[in-house]
Symmetry: C2
Subunit: 250 residues, 2 copies
């Protein structure tokens, strides 16, 4: 049985806030060993002072950008889908203009895995429990409408459940199956969080088998460029032997 609920009582977060203490106060007395906390990256960014003036938004996007994936010019301006320094592909490099103080925009945390680790260490010590922490962000996807939450930072919880080498009910090897459980936990948490209503943290209970103090962070969910069959329309992809958009080109 998986249970997921949002935590109330978290105030508007500002630069310098100790969110480990604030979240700890909000969950005090409710956590159990093996629980996972899903924390919206927005409050991590705010606490870490990753705020810039809205007037500097375009420059901020440029500064965060490692690779431009797609650009579209439209009447409302320019939308850029880019890869940022974390390896995350997102609209506007993850620079966020909603639920931010007026006249400002938010950048993603500098190192969300480190942010998750700090949160976990403080909360595990305070409560004497083994916990997992996932820092989530909301991303669009190719080919599909809408957005889902994914894990951009994590600590203490396996984000990729590698089933390669295990066997299916017919005894055959499940060669490529590796559920991205970190992203699935983030998605489950998004169903109860209401970021626009001040519920940026959820508790996920029932997945203690995924807890692992030495687990790789969410950075490990970023696919290496040279392994990415979807990296289309780029010279790298063609050089890797990909044959992209063949139907359309013919």
């Amino acid at each position: 049985m998986l249970t997921v609920w949002a935590i109330g009582g978290i105030p508007e977060i500002v630069d310098g806030d100790d969110i480990a203490a604030i979240i700890g106060d909000a969950v005090d007395g409710t956590l159990e060993d093996g629980d996972i906390l899903a924390v919206t990256s927005k409050i991590v960014s705010k606490a870490e002072g990753r705020v810039v003036l809205a007037a500097d938004r375009e420059q901020a996007i440029t500064d965060e950008t490692v690779r431009i994936v797609a650009t579209r010019v439209h009447p409302g301006g320019v939308t850029r889908i880019v890869e940022n320094s974390l390896g995350i592909v997102a609209a506007a490099a993850g620079v966020d203009s909603s639920n931010t103080p007026d006249g400002t925009v938010l950048l993603l945390p500098v190192d969300p895995d480190a942010s998750a680790r700090r949160l976990r260490e403080v909360l595990e010590r305070r409560f004497g429990l083994r916990l997992g922490v996932i820092v989530t962000d909301t991303l669009g996807r190719p080919w599909r409408e809408g957005q889902t939450d994914v894990a951009i930072g994590s600590s203490g919880v396996r984000v990729l459940e590698d089933l390669r080498g295990t066997r299916d009910t017919q005894g055959r090897r499940l060669d490529v199956t590796a559920p991205a459980v970190g992203d699935e936990i983030s998605a489950a948490a998004d169903l109860v969080k209401r970021k626009s209503d001040g519920l940026p943290v959820a508790v996920v209970r029932g997945l203690s088998h995924l807890l692992d103090a030495d687990a790789l962070g969410a950075r490990s969910l970023i696919r290496r460029a040279d392994m990415d069959m979807f990296r289309l329309g780029t010279d790298e992809a063609w050089q890797q032997g990909f044959e992209a958009g063949r139907v359309a080109r013919e």
Copy 2:
């Protein structure tokens, strides 16, 4: 509070099985008004006889393919990422070789929204409850490791929670926010289902606000090609004014 659990007692499904009756027997006495059932597409395909000989796998992939997105030749053979007739972009057109009877592979259901609708109608009538049904499949993603479950069919439940027009805590319009809750529910269900251990159905409780008898099916989660900024490397994309892979091309 969101709770999610897998349903035991579902036998191996074969061509012609009445899965509405089988799932109904397995959940009998446990459902409440507003519950959502997440059903792995594999058992829907099996019941609908969407089985072909493994020897015909390559031809089956070709038959299911509407558009080739990427092809990679490697020592083990050829992997094709393609768009199928449902608009779903998946490796091998969603043709599935795991947990299938020996010597066979499975195609996706012909019309997963219709499959979900039939399931819902039978189960709602049997139990006298309002229910949602989502048919799920496991997909890889560009740029990110591993797979997540998404909704490829649905009935009675909103799969896209359109927040456009609503306002954030600062009173600003959340212009582009539309959580793909159908995919997030599928992901949450995958965390408790163990497809390789015969647990292909999960109950999702706590989201009755998403129930809507007239909701569009999961087909509505497929992005229209002319709205897809990620549709890179294709002539359509360039004609739409996209500037794809600019850094790599320069």
